[in-house]
Amino acid sequence: MRYDSITEAIGNTPLVRIDPSVHGLRHIDLYAKLEMLNPFGSVKDRPAWHMARPYLEDAASGDGTVVELSSGNTAKALALLAGMHGLKFKSVTNRMRVPEIKDLLLLLGAEIEELPGQSECLDPTDTDDPLTRFHQALSEPGSAHLHTDQYFNPRNVEAHATGTGPEIIKDLDGRAPDWFVACVGTAGSSTGVARVLREHDGDVRVLGLVADKSDFIPGIRTIDEVHQVGLFDPATYDSLAAVTSQQAIDGMITLIRRCGLLSGPTGGAAYHGAVRHLASVDAELDGAGRRRTAVFIVCDRAESYLSYVRQRRPELLGRPRRGRSPSEVGDEAIRAAKARAVDVDDARRWIAEGEPRPLVVDLRGPHAYAALHIEGSINIVDELFAELVRDGLPFSKRTPVLLACPVGEKSLRYAASLARSGHPDVRSLAGGIVAWRDAGAPLVRE
């Protein structure tokens, strides 16, 4: 395969059969449409390119900006496409909820505008609705913006009606599947694919999956939110069902660990929703002697959602334990270490007259340390210090050490930990830097 531009690699994604021993359906062949193998990593490559292409190919490169309300894959694809054409990309969003995606967008050169949160005191006279202002700004005369408007733009649907849908039919040897399962985000893929499949075979059933209302699955809308999507038409779906984030992650893990498909949570949701729905259909097919086919879409890949998984299923990312961290010091050891606390007066004397003088380690953040600290102290921020002492001591046992934190609690814990590691003379500043200040002892600025 030889291409002149990466955009030529968009589309023609594989349709891969899921091993029946994984999904357990006896009479239904289940296929995954691997949209994650598009060059920018998701199903959104198609509509992004289809929506932006006419503008990008015309645009005199330089000062135009492509804008979209997106916190995810559409933004990613548009940012890359805009960049290729010398344009800027701006994403306006209701909050980037997946940190990796946000970092990735910044890496791609996108500007991100996060819309304000909901008002605490309701102001009925509020005309400051951020979305309204966004649209006003776009329609100002002379604005060099292209708003791709994925939630209302018919070219979003068209990208799938001319691409994704026909590809599925072609790969099923000219037949439409009996079921098509898709998560509803912009409703672009489900609407476009459903239209083509139904034109081919009026009996195709379409299952739309939405996120459980109190839950969050990246790229999927809840049942209330789909009503705000211009492309959403309830008639497209034979049924709509909700999936929770836990179920999405379950589905994702099955696809990854058992099928070799490096799917993200949206694909996991589609798989879970498909198998759940088809299980009862499958039972009805017992003895009928017919085989059926179903297709679901794997929207994107797993890598961008590690923090999402870490937050919801930390055990899936369990790491081997290293040495003990100071935060694991037991209460007993802390009580025993009380003797290691020195008050401000004794600490001042020790620093002034000690033989040898103690090394004063300030465990606060570097910014706070720079603002005010005990003269001569060094700064090792607590998190780093905890890492250092897991594997040994960062200073000689012959050096006496005075640990200081804001109120003397964390430093006492760390002192206990260092004593356990064999340091003979480590103490904690009682009451911390706060007590030091309150006693009128000197603090210096950097």
Partner: protein, 491 residues
């Protein structure tokens, strides 16, 4: 509903006797709860080892009982935030000493003078206001006045924060934009003999933790800028807006908001008077607009919200907000209004008329002795169902069949006077003489819009407290003092 309020509601005869004697509408407050709420905020401070004060935003409620009860709390932990001359006088008269008072909001010269006179801290909005204060201090030989500088416009401030990301914020008419701070620092230096900068403040009208966390960190960084200029500020004041959860069950709230969308689309019968959409509208089968409703189910509200805000990592320095404050040796001030009066009381309204709605026999109009302004649920987007307190107690309740949808209309001769535009579902059809109790509204929403239109009575307010034997005692709000037995009692 928490215990004191729940047990008050169980004593229907007591509430009926109050309403009989004092009229409808009637606000009933439990001053003890405001102190308990302040203590809950105090616990969050202690958990994060922070010092500083919780300031009650007086505008939340004009009750004397609440202010007096708070005045009796630990002076180092609880203060009061006043936004007018009258509120300042009231706070002083209720027992707050000047050093526990913070003056905020729009200020006229009399207000500034008295605040400076009694040693209150002035939360300064602009350079002009600072100049005015300094002039007063100079002209009247007042002591050096402590000031906090309220900042705004964090979103347009690129500062050291995230390249490429801009967090937009609702515009506020209060505060000095961060971008214009230089002029403020210069003014503080010019008037150093009259005013002392004790810290920086912000108040963002949002429930967004992200925006607040960002502003908090920015203040910590700016405090350092102040120190470098020779000031010695100690306080970061992060305002309030921590919220109240009005509906406990998330599912209940979610079902209702989904149903509202469906009603707007015409997929189900209207849930509101004349199909009002609370800001949502049907645009060719698509729901447009934003629901102008208070997020009634808030799993994170009040002290819990503060805890979460303080526990989150800040975007630039990457430390928890509480750690940042603590490490920089800053005190924390907060000014919760609504959250401090959560569960503090209820509003009572007498049922005056019940009749079926002409066009829909399944629904009823229930007219009560109260108008929309008395509880102003609509202005605040707060959706609280009232609890019916049958006259004669629960024994005679059985009669009128099962659940029923009613429209609650008020005592004004106006089509628009609906207590709420929502169709309210009650477990039974109420009868004339019953009381409807709007739980929690006496704490926050009842005072803002109450008026004497059409010479209808405004609500009186009473304070109640529990006796040892479980019975309730009451007194007019203005007669409450936080003493065990204010009117004396044989020992």
């Amino acid at each position: 509903m928490d215990p004191p309020l729940a047990s008050l509601l169980e004593d229907a005869p007591f509430l009926h006797s109050l309403a009989d004697a004092l009229g409808s509408p009637l606000n009933v407050l439990i001053p003890e709860v405001v102190a308990e709420n302040a203590e809950r905020f105090g616990a969050v401070y202690r958990r994060h080892h922070l010092s500083g004060r919780v300031y009650f935003a007086h505008k939340a409620n004009r009750s004397s009982a609440l202010v007096r009860r708070l005045a009796a709390c630990d002076p180092s932990a609880v203060g009061i935030d006043v936004a007018s001359l009258a509120e300042l006088r009231h706070a002083l008269g209720c027992g707050f000493t000047g050093d526990r008072v913070m003056a905020t909001g729009p200020k006229d010269p009399e207000f500034l003078w008295l605040a400076a006179r009694v040693g209150a801290t002035v939360n300064v909005d602009s350079v002009t206001e600072l100049e005015q204060l300094a002039a007063l201090v100079g002209a009247h030989g007042l002591g050096r006045t402590r000031v906090l500088v309220r900042l705004s416009g964090f979103e347009s401030d690129h500062g050291p924060a995230g390249a490429g990301t801009r967090v937009l914020s609702r515009r506020s008419r209060f505060g000095t934009p961060v971008a214009e701070r230089e002029a403020m620092w210069a003014a503080l230096e010019r008037h150093a003999d009259s005013v002392e900068l004790v810290g920086l403040a912000y108040h963002l009208d949002t429930i967004g933790l992200e925006e607040k966390g960002r502003a908090l960190e920015r203040c910590v960084l700016l405090m350092d800028e102040c120190r470098a200029r020779g000031f010695a500020p100690r306080v970061v004041d992060i305002g309030g807006g921590f919220g109240v959860g009005y509906v406990e069950d998330a599912g209940e709230w979610e079902r209702w908001t989904t149903a509202l969308s469906e009603a707007v689309l015409g997929l189900r019968p209207p849930l509101t008077w004349r199909g009002h959409g609370y800001g949502l509208r049907n645009d060719n089968g698509t729901v447009r607009g934003a629901a102008a409703l208070y997020p009634a189910h808030r799993p994170l509200a009040g002290p819990g919200y503060l805890d979460e805000l303080l526990s989150r990592r800040s975007p630039v320095l990457g430390r928890a907000s509480a750690t940042l404050l603590l490490e920089h040796l800053h005190d924390l001030y907060v000014e919760p209004g609504r959250a401090l009066v959560d569960q503090c009381g209820l509003s009572l309204a007498r049922v005056l008329e019940v009749r079926p709605l002409g066009d829909d026999p399944g629904r009823y109009l229930v007219r009560v002795g109260m108008n929309a302004a008395d509880v102003s649920l609509e202005e605040h987007g707060v959706l609280v169902d009232p609890v019916t307190l049958p006259r004669g107690g629960p024994r005679h309740e059985a009669a009128d069949g099962g659940p029923v949808g009613v429209h609650l209309v008020g005592n004004l001769c106006l089509e628009a006077d609906l207590i709420t535009r929502r169709l309210v579902f009650l477990p039974h059809l109420p009868r004339v003489g019953d009381l409807l109790a709007f739980v929690n509204t006496a704490g926050y929403v009842m005072d803002f819009h109450a008026h004497h239109a059409q010479r209808q009575p405004s609500a009186r307010t009473v304070a109640v407290s529990r006796e040892a034997g479980g019975t309730w005692r009451w007194c007019p709000d203005e007669n409450y003092w936080p003493l065990t037995h204010p009117q004396g009692r044989p020992s």
